[in-house]
Symmetry: D2
Subunit: 322 residues, 4 copies
């Protein structure tokens, strides 16, 4: 049920590329290997390095994220042990199927709800709609994109920094380094730009005598680059898969125009596979920030009443047998 | 007319904070200095470090971006001299006033069009509407946010890298480290998630015999983490200013609930002031990437026909007089 | 008595450079400013950047170390508060005057002993000899170098790392980035290369029931890149000051041979002034390593009996008044 | 004949450790695995991480340098292709056998002279003496250390930087991160501390009309943190191997005193094996600095007459077949 290590691996046999014989030139394999897939990393990798790996995308393949997903599993464990932190991502949009926000309760959302279906959407009804949307393009050799939403519960307060390495900046970099991403927003996001300050601000209140909370969470758990202990939430947009099996105009590496039909097993929608990648990227940022916070501010705390530790779940050190 | 160094400085006298006497406690200055402004960096900075600078936001102030704006001016000059690169940002939304995309031509947009009015919107009619929208909230002591669009013309190809430090990831981090940002998208952005692959892909064609171009630019000038030479475009969402002069519930540093009305000169909309900050952040990323590219791939190019240099405007070295 | 902030500032009026009229060319100021001082950073700075600041050495001046010395003072305070760590450096050689090692007891050496005289040598008799050695060259317009020894007592165990960023590697980089250094050695140093393994190895023993110690300390407190809790000791060689007021052959910036006599107040021996620089460099390395260690290994210690904390002197957090 | 990839690999079967039964405790394997080898990384690794790999030294083994040696081979090739740079190291001391400096000509020294014998000493007579010195301790189960000298010919001028990341600081860190090092010196080194400034300074002269040279090279090719184009030379001290097969006092991991005799194939002298490690470390520093210099100063040189390029040997880009 755990999706930690399912990662973003595509099913994997090398993509076959067919170049239609439109420009009267011979259609041999060496030529096929030179045609650039539109909107793929094929061309830019070659523009940069002057070398090309035509089989399966090379270093640009989403397969490459396996290292981050594996490291993210360790990061999640440390965060959970220290502060009961939970990082949960799910698919909130596939093509034009948008899961309404009020159908998901971020306070109680569980991994089981998400892993309950193949598209990793916590609402079964919308999961069915998403599957249907993917099937619709798959049979036409086309593809779709969508959105992954990620939340973090029980985040230690004080993670991040106030100027260059703001927590939202680190998260943005981490998720925008995943393949096929087109956008990142947190808290109220772009929708928040349509509000006034008095509508948008999160008013503070006291929960009991000791814990400062906010009544709303348009800040998405981060204010001024630093976590405030509320739920962090963010949305990441993924474009439709660029490798499709429909005929497209393109050029070859030696600068001749041609047409191309990509063949082979490729994903008509990468968004469900992106869910563990997003969680891993977020976990790696947070564990780095936790270590920095621990070294910078917990070695000699100046005002422990405010700089409250979150070592809720912190367990005894592992006993090493002699 | 140049907005390079106008920066994001607020007009500047220290913000006065008034705490209404609602909870029967004395309303002296030391108490006022302890009330956190809702959705401001006030509280989280204190949660992290245990210290607080109540006057003007301290290190969290947007004033702090002056260093980036100054360095960005140098970066812009280097980019322009090397490859004729131009970085131009403008306000494309204020509150609910959204500038239609087809009213701006990114191929011909000039700095003069943007600096022609106080909100830095290149369309005079929409500039008037934006000014009116800001005035409407200003008189009520409220605030609004909006969107800055930034484009880059004549970008050298090959900037960025294919895995961790993708160009879009570096840009996202740089702009999300500016104060008040809520989201980042490039190319087709979140709108692109509603398209199919066959609608979204940018087909290649030859411009003359030597230059590989794309017919459309939903990739926003970046494919697989690396620039492809087309115009880079991105949108950055800014929330409404958090410091407003309307009464809000909040808590004090010593954990008492109270109410607060911020007084003093503050911006009812930071978005026009964010324009040079965004340009600077983008320029710093691109000049770093240009230097990396020059060192990594131009010292010994493997395939110069593909790894084309963009030293279009590169001028003779400055002559130092003896 | 504290030499923390006395730093490496030279006494400071701009150095005057006189170019003898040997090659029949006019001896005007612009020409003088172009003559390179032999063995100074003058020439290489110009070779690298193509620009030159003739007055006082520019960025290459030892004055530049003031930032490190100031930051080092903070670093020393943190180290002392955490683990009672003391960093003490002194002059152990000036030109041919070599302080015998057995005249200094590293267990009991105090700052007062060092600051007792102008050359910062803890032995008064040898201090006199060193002063005489400096005076002897000063009157001839010549200069001398020497050696600074630095020790660290009460070092936390476990600082450093086993592969690339070994503690001795970090220390070597930090002190070799001080101006005029020619060599670094720690523990037995180059002298240790003349010993056999059975002579050189530091045998372990138990001090009481809980503390693992070594009988000797040829390791200089560092084994395999990581501190072992014994005293860290190191020696740093400084060359004679390059700016001297004796006639030397040199060339001008425009590549003519000439001769040069440097005038102005310059130090005939920089070694005593290097003492606080060395301490600062060492303190900055150790506080960085302490923070890294705290974050990496103290967040979740696996074997606390071995990974013993050294929070001997760790004091209560500073109380911030409300 | 090329020693590029011979690296520092020890011959390799796991070291066997025998703990004599001196303290009346049972002598089983689990106990043996807990005895720390004196002056080895065994103990400090355990103090830091609380985990231990008794077989062969784990991450602390010199075997680990294979990655650096492999990368260094690529670095050497780039440096040679760009500027004809040659990096050559050799053994200049084994225990008390010191190769006199005047028996090696750094202008003409070749790899063949060094690889001519098993100790990598370019002088056959002294090579024999060194081999005898190693044999003498080997038969007694003891070990010796020594010194590796490394030179770099045809170094581009301008590599390094003037303040923190001085070239000598980078070189010191790189070589001091190799196992068993005790000291680093360059140019005149510690011997230079016994000279006066007038004896030590390297006077400049013109070689032809365009090349600024120094008459002597006590600076070891580096002045003020930046290369001056003369031969870089440095000496690195290596301690005697800590793992010896003679009985030594030590303690176990659970803090009991014991005695230990290490068994297995280990090197009685690591110095000859360190030669390719040193070359690799130096090559990696120099290629990094070359890339930095190319990006920082060659993109827009300010004064090309001084910032002379060293692209002596720079060859045509590799032609990629279509």
């Amino acid at each position: 049920m755990h999706h930690l290590l399912t990662t973003g691996l595509t099913t994997g046999s090398p993509i076959k590329v067919e170049v239609p014989n439109t420009d009267q030139r011979s259609n041999d394999y060496s030529e096929m290997s030179l045609a650039y897939r539109p909107s793929h990393a094929d061309a830019t990798y070659d523009f940069k390095y002057g070398v090309r790996s035509v089989q399966g995308g090379g270093r640009s393949s989403a397969r490459e994220t396996i290292g981050r997903v594996a490291a993210g599993a360790v990061a999640k464990k440390i965060l959970n042990q220290y502060s009961g932190t939970e990082i949960i991502a799910y698919v909130s949009q596939v093509h034009k199927v948008v899961l309404p926000e009020d159908l998901v309760d971020h306070e109680t959302l569980t991994l089981d709800q998400i892993e309950n279906n193949i598209v990793r959407c916590p609402n079964p009804e919308y999961a069915e709609k998403m599957i249907a949307a993917i099937d619709a393009v798959r049979v036409r050799g086309d593809s779709v994109g969508g959105v992954v939403t990620c939340i973090v519960r029980n985040v230690p307060r004080g993670l991040g920094s106030p100027v260059f390495d703001k927590l939202e900046a680190e998260l943005a970099k981490a998720v925008m380094s995943l393949p096929a991403t087109k956008g990142f927003e947190f808290g109220s996001g772009f929708a928040g730009t349509f509000m006034t300050g008095s509508e948008h601000n999160d008013e503070f209140y006291m929960e009991g005598n000791s814990r400062i909370r906010t009544k709303t969470n348009r800040s998405g758990g981060i204010q001024g680059g630093i976590s405030n202990g509320e739920i962090i939430n963010m949305r990441i947009g993924f474009k439709p898969t660029s490798t499709i099996s429909r005929k497209q105009s393109t050029v070859t590496r030696d600068k001749h125009e041609t047409e191309l039909i990509a063949r082979g097993r490729h994903d008509p929608c990468v968004v469900p596979r992106a869910v563990p990648m997003v969680e891993a990227a977020v976990a790696l940022v947070l564990v780095d920030q936790l270590m920095a916070q621990y070294a910078q501010c917990m070695l000699f705390p100046i005002n422990p009443a405010l700089q409250e530790s979150m070592e809720l779940n912190k367990q005894e050190p592992v006993q090493v047998p002699h």
